[in-house]
Symmetry: C2
Subunit: 343 residues, 2 copies
């Protein structure tokens, strides 16, 4: 163990809890990961402590010597209180996770953050954004999110909900109530026309199912053979419910027009929204990641092409675009390093 001690980083998702013992260089000295048995807040708090202790044991370090514990939670964190206002994947509303943890680890300073903020901080400190004071990380997976560092500091927003890149609306008529025929796709947040409603993995699949139905109906009505999304359907054994963004990506490679069109459109919309963020925020580096993009060099290329098209020239010229470096470790490492700063 190094002289300046270690902190614990926790990444709490809707399914798993991960914990790691992290030194001041961001190295993971020991880690644990296990599936949540329950999403009840007290049980989750217990699971976090258990995972942390297991990680310490793996590192051969006493839990009581941790200088702090940072917990990244998949949800909206209230600034200052460590309360999870809304954690859809956990089914949480107004859960005082800081309080629940403090009761179980009274001697260890705690820090609660949004999981994406923690991951961004990990990349900023020891990953692909190391040393970058104006950094933007965009992750396109099941959901679409972002995290920002500006002037070397994590941006959390006035009430802690900054970074909702996936809920940018993609165009001004997308859900204008006076023009229902142009209404945008419905997002999980309840609004219409959000970027995530098009580009998030689950929503991409739903979009493909809708377009399959519409395309097939149109071909039937025209007395044509039904070919819309044929290759995609073959890949999922004819069951539209089994369509995923990954299946669409494979189908697109096999020449499936429908999959290709939707993935390309999603990439263009991501790039459009990202280009506008470049124009306003002027980051010097953007990291593009998340399952959907990591799985698709073609989409990533199209995102960058759209950024080139839409961002202001001076902002684009100042910005390089790359990929995150820490993968799944970003969250635990970032949470641990945030706890170190807060301690």
């Amino acid at each position: 163990m190094r002289q300046d001690g270690f902190t614990i980083g926790v990444d709490l998702g809707g399914t798993n809890v991960r914990a790691a013992v992290v030194d001041e260089q961001g190295h993971i000295l020991g880690a644990d990961r296990h599936r949540l048995q329950s999403r009840e807040p007290p049980q989750v708090a217990e699971a976090i402590v258990r995972a942390s202790k297991t990680a310490c044991a793996a590192a051969g370090i006493p839990f009581a010597e941790a200088r702090g514990m940072g917990v990244g939670v998949a949800g909206m964190i209230q600034k200052g209180t460590g309360m999870v206002l809304n954690g859809p994947n956990l089914g949480w509303r107004d859960v005082p996770i800081l309080k629940l943890l403090a009761a179980r680890t009274p001697k260890i300073p705690l820090f609660i953050a949004n999981d994406l903020s923690a991951a961004v901080w990990g990349e900023r400190m020891v990953g692909a954004g190391k040393g970058v004071d104006d950094l933007l990380v965009v992750l396109v997976g099941t959901g679409v999110g972002s995290g920002m560092v500006q002037g070397g500091r994590l941006v959390t927003g006035g009430s802690g909900v900054a970074g909702e890149f996936g809920h940018i609306k993609i165009n001004p008529v997308a859900f204008d109530p006076s023009k229902p025929s142009q209404a945008g796709r419905l997002c999980g947040c309840g609004m219409r026309g959000c970027l995530e409603a098009y580009a998030g993995g689950q929503n991409l699949a739903a979009w493909a199912r809708d377009d399959l139905r519409i395309g097939a109906a149109a071909q039937r009505a025209a007395g044509q053979p039904v070919t819309a999304g044929k290759r995609l359907l073959e890949l999922v054994n004819g069951d539209p419910e089994k369509i995923t963004a990954a299946a669409m990506e494979r189908a697109a490679h096999l020449g499936d027009e429908l999959s290709r069109r939707l993935l390309d459109e999603a990439a263009r919309l991501i790039g459009f929204s990202l280009g506008n963020l470049l124009t306003v925020l002027n980051p010097t580096k953007v990291l593009l990641g998340g399952g959907v993009l990591a799985n698709s060099p073609r989409m990533t290329r199209l995102v960058i092409e759209a950024v080139d098209l839409y961002a202001s020239k001076v902002a684009r010229a100042a910005c390089s675009i790359g990929a995150p470096a820490l993968g799944d470790d970003a969250g635990v490492v970032g949470a641990a390093l945030l706890a170190r700063e807060a301690a």
Copy 2:
């Protein structure tokens, strides 16, 4: 004079230079304003020093006792060097204004900022954004710009060009080169589909001229009497070149359909873009100002309605929307207070 001294704030536009002696409370103790006789950089530097000395004389304070001088310049400032990379209203490219001023006032610490950043800082410190750590100021006048404070700090961006709200693209097809029929309006920056190309005062007038021509041609072609924008044309004595955003506002009040439609559309586009910024940045206060909006309570109302429609619910709920309080003084006061912080 107060114990902790005074600083000088300068606001350099394309036409005028203003200077003020400002105390630590943001009070103006003396001021000067005069028209630039030349836009040659050395002459402008002289004019800035002269205005500053006149302001000191008006306040009865020796110039040499200034603790610092902050200069807000209408242009793009290079971070760290005080170089004006691009100041379209001054016709400047790569002008080392900091160096030119330092040669003339060797003993006074200098600070160069974008004029809008200076104005935002003025509002943040002693205006309508006093005490607000996450503040967004949007000004719609001849141009469309914004300035941001996040976590209590002015956001300048990685290379100093953050805040270009007017160059957000308003929708993904607005200037897609593959769809020229849907191409957006041309912006002064050379790109198409920028918010400013629709909502900036000069561009609003150009838009009205274009729509007048198109509307009149269509009515003529249909053998109808030419009524498009009739009231607006009357207000400018039949000369389309005299159309201004202010004339459009008056015409709209008199029932001119064309003026009303364009102003309303501009307001909706401002609100759309602003709503998306709320979603990503989560400010707790927005100040809406600038000549076009200050002149039009109806547009301001429509902007807010569009923000309500497009911003994510949680971000909107956390944010109040008001107007700037300092008017033309914001720039000099903000520049002076920035110099105080930098000193």
